[in-house]
């Protein structure tokens, strides 16, 4: 059942992203996306270890995280298309997907920003007597943002129930991690007094196991854990790369990187007929989602500034 669940999630994310890229090409999605293709096992494994009331923060490359946390693909797709029935009512788009009802405190377009937000939220839930755990996703590039390192310090000092999940896909846009991170990623985390582990980020079950341990540690009041999930980005940094080819990854590297495909790794654990049934189910789900999204109303430009303030004092 877990195997199937994990497969369903990685497959859903993969096909969601592929369809989303088609919609980018056809112009239905404006502004492009940062595809999560290749990294699906991380979102799937991490979120499978969470309770519904646990919370996450996500990144610019966030579709996988929110889908794995249970977001309705139709509402996510509608958001990417800027529709009123989107997650954020079309106000957020790809980089800001949020669903507070599902504990998704938002994707963040600023690299390294969300770690301290997740830390604050987790601390606040704890102070309110809730045994909620927060997970913050970020990339290898974020490890060089001082604000994220500051967050590690606060989380450890105050024993905050947060799990830091670093998706090391080898690059920050075009910058190789080896030219960008002095020392090692886990060593950097460990220096703040956190346990830190490197996990095979292509295998959803390994990610699930590592996260389960980290979450239980957090939930029992023993503080934060850091997981470096090694992975590979199969596609572009952002779909703009489909037009402007940037020269930073060799063909050999790409094919080696793509050879460990999380969808295949998890798919092989299912019987062929079960797998086929899941695949078919997902296609149907995504067909329906596309229909719902494409049918969503465009928000009214007159309401462009709705939600700008939560308190009404400001009259413009």
């Amino acid at each position: 059942m877990t195997a199937e669940h994990l497969y369903r999630t990685v497959r859903l994310i993969r096909r969601f992203e592929e369809r989303a890229m088609d919609f980018v090409r056809s112009g239905e999605i404006v502004g492009g996306i940062h595809p999560y293709v290749g990294q699906e096992a991380i979102a799937a494994g991490v979120c499978a270890a969470l309770r519904p009331d646990d919370v996450i923060t996500s990144t610019h490359r966030g579709h996988g995280h929110v889908l794995a946390k249970g977001v309705d693909p139709a509402r996510m797709l509608a958001e990417l298309m800027g529709r009123e029935n989107g997650l954020n009512r079309g106000r957020g788009g790809s980089m800001h997907a949020a669903d507070f009802g599902l504990g998704i405190l938002g994707a963040n377009a600023i690299v390294g920003a969300a770690g301290s937000i997740a830390t604050g939220a987790a601390w606040a839930y704890q102070r309110q007597g809730k045994d909620v755990v927060a997970v913050s996703f970020f990339g290898d590039g974020a490890m060089n943002e001082g604000m994220l390192l500051e967050a590690f310090n606060l989380a450890v000092l105050w024993r905050v129930p947060v799990v830091f999940v670093c998706e090391n896909n080898g690059y920050a846009t075009t910058m190789p991690v080896r030219s960008a991170v002095a020392g090692s990623i886990t060593g950097r985390a460990r220096a703040f007094g956190m346990p830190a582990f490197t996990v095979d980020g292509q295998d959803p079950e390994k990610v699930l196991a590592a996260t389960t341990a980290a979450v239980s540690r957090a939930r029992s009041g023993r503080g934060p854990t850091f997981l470096e999930c090694t992975t590979y980005r199969f596609d572009a940094h952002h779909t703009f790369e489909h037009r402007a080819r940037l020269n930073y990854r060799s063909t050999e590297e790409l094919s080696t990187g793509r050879s460990r495909d999380p969808v295949e790794i998890q798919g092989e654990r299912l019987a062929a007929d079960v797998r086929a049934a899941v695949d078919a189910e997902i296609e149907a789900l995504l067909d329906a989602a596309a229909g719902v999204a494409l049918g969503g109303a465009h928000p009214d430009p007159a309401a462009a500034l709705e939600f700008l303030y939560a308190s009404p004092e400001v009259n413009r």
Binding site: A113, G120, W123, Y309, A310, E313, V314
Partner: protein
């Protein structure tokens, strides 16, 4: 009636809100021992979960507050020096401020940022003497600069209760102001509503924070010369009480603004822009501000020379009174 100082009023407001609302907590550097006195006595009353001493990690603890706010709390952050707001500009303007709209109204970020001792503190020099309230007004973060103890109390209360991020600047030059105050009369002061501090007929002087004192002193001095000055304190820089200002100017038909931020695109610029758009004036309005790009030099006389002061204000008022269209 007992005397209440401006700083004590802030301290009292914070204590009252901490007592009234479990979701309020304070964080910042040296808040436990209350190095600035803003949080005096609060650690003993409310303990370490409500009065949280932070490491020197302004960016992380500002976002930490945003996260805590998303999870239902009402954080109040003390910043020791005004330029720390430069350091967390991204966290306030690009994170806290934007969450509500970007999520389609799913959440709110009720964080209050307080700087006790903004503007020039003589001898603190270039990097510790800024007064960046116009920057926050420009990006649309609610921004408050109280001028009196009662307003300090009431505006801080409203800031904490507001569901959006609010920055409150408590100018160093105002912290020591003491007024006779009936404690029972202390109450919230709504954001966005100005106050006529002194009525007058000939010219409206707009002043904020510690500069209200200078405006009143100038008004006193000019009264002796038969000139009647109205002093209007908007109290909130953003949202600005344009209607209140308009009503005053409709009576006086002359306008001077004194503003402790830099000239270009500062608060003074906004007041003059509104005047240009909307007011019928008998003479061109003037602004008395810090100079463009001002960096406050250390030597006290130079520091003072860069700040807008009473003499500049008097000159501007005379200029406006003599000015013709």
């Amino acid at each position: 009636m007992p005397k209440l100082s401006y700083l004590k009023a802030l301290n009292r407001a914070l204590g009252d809100e901490l007592a009234a609302d479990e979701s309020v907590f304070v964080l910042g550097e040296d808040v436990r021992v209350a190095a600035s006195n803003l949080t005096a006595g609060l650690f003993d009353r409310f303990g370490p979960e409500r009065v949280l001493d932070t490491p020197l990690s302004e960016q992380a603890f500002t976002n930490f507050a945003t996260g805590a706010a998303l999870a239902g709390l009402r954080p109040v952050i003390e910043f020791q020096i005004p330029s720390l707001l430069f350091l967390v500009f991204e966290q306030i303007a690009n994170q806290a401020h934007k969450f509500s709209l970007m999520t389609g109204g799913q959440c709110q970020v009720p964080v209050t940022y307080v700087v006790p001792g903004s503007g020039s503190r003589t001898g603190w020099a270039g990097q510790h003497s800024d007064h960046p309230y116009s920057l926050f007004a420009h990006v649309g973060v609610k921004t408050v600069v109280p001028s009196s103890p009662a307003d300090a109390y009431g505006l801080l209360l409203s800031a904490i209760r507001d569901n959006d991020p609010v920055v409150l600047f408590a100018p160093a030059g105002a912290l020591g102001i003491r007024d006779d105050v009936d404690y029972a009369s202390l109450q919230p002061v709504p954001l966005g509503v100005g106050r006529i501090v002194r009525e007058g007929a000939d010219v409206t002087v707009v002043a904020l924070g510690h500069l209200v004192q200078d405006a009143l002193a100038a008004a006193d001095e000019l009264a002796g010369q038969g000139i009647s000055v109205e002093v209007f304190d908007p109290r909130t820089v953003y949202p600005l009480d344009v209607d209140g200002l308009a009503a005053s100017v409709a009576r006086t038909r002359r306008l001077v603004v004194i503003d402790d931020s830099n000239r270009t695109s500062g608060f003074g610029a906004e007041v003059l822009a509104v005047a240009a758009e909307r007011f019928d004036l008998d003479a061109p309005p003037r602004r008395v501000t810090r100079p463009d790009g001002a960096v406050l030099p250390f030597a006290p006389a130079l520091d003072r020379a860069v700040q807008p002061g009473r003499d500049h204000l008097l000159a501007a008022i005379h200029g406006v009174l003599e000015g013709k269209r």
